[in-house]
Subunit: 431 residues, 2 copies
């Protein structure tokens, strides 16, 4: 093994938060094993972070400290820049661009950066014949990027769908298990450290949408385009919906789904009812899971920890091992030439779940079903409990597959019926 | 894309059974997409199989027919030999050896060959600086070899455990769902084509053991060694066990497990009780699933179709794409230098499930528990139903973790008690 140390892969790490420290720990603790697997050792020669004095519980002796992370890009002693700063603009973007320009490979966990600027960065990396590794940007420790680009590369993918945000999955799982409502579970999750003080990036679906945009690009060979993703978070999921879904044989998950339809590719993140018997319905708590459908392989599901220092560092170091071993990562440039376009959510066709809060009076159901019939939306199942006097009555139904725009028109008119006490709640169902 | 055709990867396929035909279909139907992903097209220049005249439903025009598969090894027009003949000796072994000797990369689905001769073949491939691809040999379309060697390469693996044989999982799932016994479900599975006419390779655990030997080698960097695997099939699982397991909160799966213990590595295939809440317990029917535990990534589970033409061809072509793209596959030679040895099953320590069929008479339980106490085996839970007159009474218990040899000694003596009507049934429990 002595010879391996002669030509190590020299890396510079920008950002020493949880994940950056995790990368240092992986390389420290498993360095020998990694060197044996890669054929070369991986050596951290420089690090950069905001606060030099903070105690991070790792030994930085012998590692150069760089105040401005962007200096790593031009440093001739560094082969690969590991970008763990985050954010789709600012220093992270500048650093990645400069490093690629300088002919260095880059490994990043920055999903926002790739979701917004992935096309340009992928082309830049390809033009310089260097690797742009982003396994750590999606689903933490689950090697979904490698699986899509290499493990399942023989397949034409028709659909990829996943639980991409552990915070949302924790909140929804806990709502189901405890019967409590969104707000209470969220504040508990914040106390437990499972949700951020500002939870918007998670619970409004943007984090999952960043990841979905990357997955859709890799799975279908289309340009990564965050703006093509329809995004709807979980704030409107009530404990009533969780319970009715259960009664109808479903669980509610925040799924990111990219699917090839006759009209193009749908990319959407929204609360989704999945049959309780589907493998993905069993994935609870902070776990992530992704189901890929390929024409020869059928359905493959990967499940694991989607966040956290250890899993995310595991993914970032896997990219480094590929590079150290001389396995250049597949390029992140569009490969599809068929002119696939994004289908707007209004053109989505599928089954839906609807909950209406109605006043208990004669003719309500007749009014509602008349509006549905006008739009050719056909009801599959309906639940109405016996009302308790003076309380609004939940009227819940599922539809057979119908065009989203038609259902929306019907619900808009239903919302204006005098008997509605709340705006309608609608979630999509996936088989 | 025209330039890609200029330097295709030229392959010869030996064996045109389901999987061989599947590979031809993948390359035919997804050739453009594969060329775009690999940067080079993959061209089948020769095939070899037993019967030239059989109609396989694929077009072989323009592909050279070779009567003796071994001739592919020396053919200068072939870059990679795809071995899909099967069997751990004979033509398959000769072909793979000769091809590697001749400096050709080899892709194979042959688990038996690798389980028995993997060390020599891995060293040969490494000495010739060529790739030996065997993704298709384990778990069909699930990219577990790539996941272990590349996706999770940053981790020290502590355990790998999986449902590696779809036939056994189908039989066990159907026993549970239908309440029927092994023999009836097996013959139905044979009629449906889910089990072979000679089911021994599957139901006696050997197929799973071949795969486990390969997985253990890759996960722990140890030499692949089929003889180190303890193998026990599912013939002794009765519908009673399935029901009692359920009552105790478990499902019975044929698991292949390789685990790092203080004394070395255990490699074992046997019916296993897993908690009904464990993700792997939810994997039913012909599906395979594998759980990997790594020190940084935690638990990752992969699930998919473990057999069949499409999934297995998907895996074989993935290896071909790596080779075509210039990504040499990691070598299949032992990387662990710590002198890890295999722990015999007698030294296994774990919880167990035991079912005894006893005569209903006073003192039986006292006799049994006395023998257990002598061997320091501690009972965790016990179930005894009210007996129906004249029938044997099932007495079922689970143990706290204990050494297997001690439990075996106790059961040997219990078996000789005059009150036992059948030999004891014992299965291991995994948390």
């Amino acid at each position: 093994m002595a010879g391996l140390k002669d030509k190590p892969l020299r890396i510079g790490i920008a950002g020493l938060g949880n994940v950056g420290v995790g990368v240092l720990q992986v390389l420290d603790r498993n360095g020998d094993l990694i060197a044996a697997r890669a054929g070369h050792s991986i050596e951290v020669v420089a690090v950069s972070a905001r606060d030099r004095d903070r105690d991070r519980g790792v030994n930085l002796d012998g590692i150069r400290w760089v105040d401005d992370a962007r200096a790593l890009a031009g440093d001739p002693t560094i082969d690969v820049v590991v970008e763990l700063i985050g954010g789709d603009e600012g220093i992270a973007r500048e650093l990645v661009e400069k490093a690629l320009q300088a002919g260095k490979s880059v490994v990043t966990a920055n999903k926002a950066l790739l979701a917004h600027h992935g096309v340009a960065l992928g082309r830049l990396a390809a033009s310089k014949s260097v690797s742009l590794g982003f396994e750590a940007s999606v689903a933490g420790g689950i090697p979904i990027i490698k699986t899509l680009r290499e493990g399942l590369a023989a397949n034409r993918v028709s659909r990829i769908s996943g639980i991409l945000n552990g915070t949302c999955n924790y909140v929804l799982s806990t709502m189901r298990e405890s019967g409590r409502d969104f707000a209470g579970v969220l504040s508990e999750a914040q106390e437990l450290g499972y949700a951020e003080a500002d939870p918007s990036l998670d619970v409004d679906g943007y984090d999952a949408a960043h990841k979905l945009a990357i997955l859709a690009s890799v799975a279908f060979g289309i340009p990564v385009d965050f703006d093509s993703v329809y995004v709807e978070g979980i704030r409107n999921v009530s404990h009533l919906d969780v319970e009715y879904a259960q009664e109808l044989g479903y669980r509610i998950k925040l799924l990111g789904t990219a699917v090839l339809t006759e009209r193009g590719i749908e990319q959407r993140v929204h609360p989704t009812l999945v049959p309780v018997t589907a493998p993905i319905a069993q994935v609870e708590g902070v776990f992530n899971a992704i189901v890929v459908e390929g024409d020869f392989v059928g359905q493959v599901m990967l499940q694991g920890r989607g966040a956290g220092a250890g899993p995310t560092a595991s993914a970032a170091v896997a990219d480094l091992i590929d590079i150290a071993a001389g396995r250049r990562l597949p390029s992140f440039i569009p490969t599809d030439n068929s002119g696939l376009t994004t289908v707007p959510i209004a053109e989505h066709s599928g089954a839906s779940y609807v909950r209406l809060m109605v006043r208990d009076q004669p003719g309500v159901i007749a009014d509602i079903t008349a509006e549905l019939r006008t739009e050719k939306v056909s009801v599959e199942a309906m639940i109405q409990r016996r009302p308790s006097p003076g309380n609004p009555v939940p009227l819940v139904f599922t539809t057979h597959p119908s065009q989203e725009a038609a259902l929306r028109r019907a619900l808009d008119r239903i919302a204006r019926l005098g008997t509605m006490l709340e705006p309608p709640t609608m979630f999509r169902i996936e088989a």
